[in-house]
């Protein structure tokens, strides 16, 4: 009973919602180009599925590459910040500036400067994705237990040992939390960049397909692409959450709370 509810309850809510949607659209004769019923979206998902999946793959490649770059670069930057207070003070404000500047506003510039479309999209998605990792990991690296730090000093630990044996493990849950946020952001960044870049031709991402479907009033396909996009976001989150739980299962509250209650 308790195991089924967390799955059953949201599925039931979804089913009721879709049923109401379908019924309302049919009763009120709402035209498909304004609001398609779920059945039409499902049909479009079936017929356009293969070509949409191809586009999804393009977007996914940008997303994952950006996420990997964000994890690597963000982690390294945080490490640098934790090693030198001066470096942190000098560079952190610029990381914030990069974060608060809307990506839609700088994407056109990046697309002008970077000639390879894939790389341009990658840079855009990366800018959005890297900040949560940098800020979270920096906090994590600086939040080692004070008494443990004292103990390490007492036993004559080197700076390197404090980092390796104490600060890095302390920072791991923070880094992983940042990674989970960045997973979703990388996808959003990739989609926004595609909207701006609007690359046509062979390599069209899912965002461009949404635009295209909108222009052609193929609203069911637009919805189908949206469904795929959200599903992708959910899957990315679930995978990152799974990795996080696996890595932290022995010790961190966020991963162990369930078997203790």
């Amino acid at each position: 009973m308790n195991r089924v509810w967390p799955i059953l309850a949201p599925v039931a809510v979804g089913a009721v919602f879709l049923g109401l949607w379908e019924a309302l659209v049919r009763w009120n004769d709402i035209p498909v180009y304004i609001l398609p019923p779920p059945s039409a979206i499902a049909a479009s998902l079936w017929t356009d599925g293969p070509s949409l999946l191809g586009s999804l793959l393009v977007t996914l490649r940008v997303t994952l590459a950006a996420l990997a770059a964000a994890a690597l670069f963000g982690g390294a930057l945080a490490l640098l910040f934790s090693l030198s207070r001066i470096v942190e003070l000098s560079f952190f404000p610029y990381a914030v500036i990069l974060q608060v500047t809307p990506i839609v506003a700088i994407a056109p510039l990046i697309i002008i400067w970077v000639h390879t479309p894939f790389l341009a999209l990658l840079v855009c998605a990366w800018i959005v994705a890297f900040f949560p990792i940098v800020s979270n990991t920096t906090v994590g690296l600086n939040s080692a237990d004070r008494n443990l730090l004292a103990l390490f000093r007492l036993y004559g630990a080197s700076r390197w040992q404090v980092l390796w044996l104490l600060r890095l493990p302390t920072a791991l849950p923070y880094f992983l939390a940042g990674l989970r946020i960045s997973g979703g952001l990388a996808l959003i960044g990739a989609v926004v960049a595609e909207f701006v870049a609007g690359t046509g031709g062979a390599e069209t991402g899912l965002a461009f397909r949404i635009l295209e479907a909108g222009y052609r009033l193929a609203i069911p396909r637009l919805f189908a692409a949206l469904v795929l996009l959200s599903l992708t976001g959910i899957v990315i989150y679930l995978i990152l959450d799974g990795i996080s739980r696996r890595l932290l299962k022995n010790w961190h509250e966020s991963a162990t709370a369930e078997d203790e209650t």
């Binding site: 443990l148 004292a150 103990l151 000093r153 007492l154 044996l165 022995n250 010790w251 509250e253 162990t256």
Partner: protein, 226 residues
């Protein structure tokens, strides 16, 4: 302090007991004067420290937590592993080597912390209110365990507490501190039979000693109010 003594630092909170302990450990600098530690020296591993919290690494299991001093000293070998196993056995946690801190009770975590402090066989063991956060039953059990460990290895122990009964039961000497400014106002030796057993707590000498120590503590507190 003489070698092999068990000295308790007793006093109201804020009188600088913990600070004194940190100065002895070399973790803090005295605001004036110097601190001489004549036993051995402050080389790594000569001093064991137990904090009020168990202060374990949650990502490491019991064995790896106790192994930490050796890992820092780059001396992880078979001898070190054997001493880790012996230390864990000595605090009564044999069989829990692979358990993680979150799987243990508060008392067991404190035992791990004590095992880690003892594993290097230190000359000086510093304990900063180690049992303050534990329940009474666990506290009594750990008091006895600490005594047995002290009798076996005879390190010099400096034990910070704010419990009169605990200090009388455990120590050979009690230093009573007062605050503002933090200072030692009384130095009392405890002449109760060794080895201490639970029966000591019922002996008339124990009650009388507790009375004396309480009085010294009251004097320390009243001096500050005046």
């Amino acid at each position: 302090m003489r070698r092999g003594e068990f000295v308790s630092l007793l006093g109201p909170s804020g009188c600088g007991k913990s600070t004194l302990l940190r100065i002895v450990a070399g973790l803090a600098e005295p605001s004036s004067g110097t601190c001489r530690v004549a036993l051995g020296d402050r080389r790594a591993g000569h001093i064991g420290f137990v904090f009020q919290d168990p202060t374990l690494m949650p990502w490491s299991n019991v064995a790896n937590n106790v192994l930490l001093p050796f890992r820092i000293a780059h001396r992880v070998d078979i001898a070190a592993r054997a001493r880790v196993a012996a230390a864990i056995e000595a605090v009564g946690l044999g069989g829990f080597e692979r358990a993680y801190p979150h799987q243990l009770s508060g008392g067991m975590r404190m035992r791990v912390s004590i095992a880690r402090a003892l594993v290097t066989d230190p000359d000086l063991l510093l304990l900063d209110e180690p049992f303050a956060a534990l329940d009474e039953i666990t506290r009594l059990a750990l008091n006895d365990d600490l005594l047995r460990l002290w009798e076996r290895h005879r390190p010099t122990i400096l034990f910070v507490t704010h419990s009169v009964f605990e200090s009388v039961y455990l120590s050979t000497r009690i230093a009573v501190m007062a605050r503002r400014p933090g200072r030692i106002v009384a130095d009392l030796s405890v002449d109760l039979p060794q080895p201490r057993q639970r029966a000591v707590r019922m002996a008339p000498g124990y009650a009388a000693m507790c009375e004396t120590v309480s009085a010294a503590l009251t004097t320390a507190m009243s001096g500050e109010a005046a």
